[in-house]
Symmetry: C2
Subunit: 231 residues, 2 copies
């Protein structure tokens, strides 16, 4: 390393050494002070490099025990979940939104439990279609708890999608998201203009504000949809 060893350089160098086998999986790395002497850098600089390597899942750090190369490097991928509107516009297509259904209703048990509602309590239910160049792109099936967001009872979702309405209005503290594959049922096939039984990509998301469920949504995409991440 030359005189200007940035934390990036150090990170890259350590990563390269691990790859090269200088420190095999499970091996202990030198302590921060030793590395600081070696790279002629301040310990804070080493610390940042090591901290980021740990966050990336390449090494493990423990207080008294020091840093070790992970046996099986933790693999994680970070996916961006854009607003549908942006997603479609980024494709260079014209975005169109349509509200298919809007009502106050008592949800099924599964939804009720997700939203932590008492039996018989109503919630806002919405069914919306997001289209790209007039072709169905994503079907949105959403429930909004009125306990957390009473304004949702009277909100008008005929021109603004609930997604954007929520983003503007309701912050959340926690979210859970999951991906799966489902066969198109009759109603979904009709809405997305695809064949019944076709394999569709589905994204489910639920958000909470301070432990209180806000909304649960099922997004079902047109055939062929995929999400991608690089790292």
């Amino acid at each position: 390393m030359s005189r200007t060893a940035s934390y990036r350089d150090i990170k890259a160098d350590i990563r390269a050494r691990i790859r090269a086998g200088q420190w095999p999986p499970g091996a202990a790395l030198p302590g921060e002070e030793e590395l600081a002497r070696f790279y002629e850098a301040a310990r804070a600089t080493i610390n940042r490099a090591m901290r980021e390597l740990a966050e990336e899942g390449l090494i493990e750090r423990k207080r008294r025990a020091g840093s070790r190369v992970r046996e099986a490097p933790r693999r994680q991928a970070r996916f961006d979940i854009p607003l549908v509107r942006r997603e479609i516009e980024d494709l260079g297509a014209a975005y169109r939104y349509a509200l298919l259904k809007s009502r106050l209703a008592v949800p099924s048990v599964a939804i009720r439990e997700r939203l932590a509602l008492a039996p018989g309590v109503r919630a806002r239910h919405l069914l919306c279609l997001h289209s790209a160049d007039a072709r169905p792109y994503q079907l949105e099936d959403r429930w909004i708890s009125l306990a957390a967001t009473p304004e949702a009872a009277d909100a008008d979702f005929s021109t603004e999608s609930p997604n954007e309405w929520l983003v503007r209005r309701v912050p959340f503290s926690t979210a859970e998201i999951s991906f799966s594959a489902v066969a198109a049922d009759a109603a979904t096939a009709r809405a997305l203009e695809c064949d019944e039984g076709e394999a569709l990509f589905r994204l489910e998301r639920q958000t909470w504000i301070d432990e209180r469920p806000i909304t649960y949504v099922r997004l079902t995409f047109r055939p062929g949809h995929r999400v991608t991440a690089r790292y």
Copy 2:
């Protein structure tokens, strides 16, 4: 803030203020120095708090322009991609691995381009089944470039899955991963013991070492599979 304002406290406080509407979307936040005075902390501490908020997608930072609250908070989810073996063992099920097919072959054009191979060049092709409690869990269809990993030509994958073999042996610098939904074709249905045409979750992954493609794999999961992340 009290006397010991850690970067975590500061982060939480700023986040809370943004949520509370003190700085609406698009608003400029005070500069680091001003925040440092306000929180009675060193600028480095403020910097760390702000840097992490930016990384989480809540704010945007630019050199000369300062920090702003994002208009639409960037939503990103981080998924852990465990080794199948671990995934299955974590379910409390017995893991079993079977090599269904192993050969050297000239890949299709699509695969050839992914692996950046010249026409007619052979690569290692593997088809493996990972089972949980003797029930098919995941079908692995993998190509390995011999250009990047010549040892793969002679490796024995009959007891060790190529995944684990690669993890132990070949580091990668970049990976691309994508999720989608596919209908089970005849061969896949047979292997996974499901119905043809059934909707299945698929994970594709390609890795590179210094721009050189190493491997491309398609993992197709048994019906009902899902991946989940919280954030």
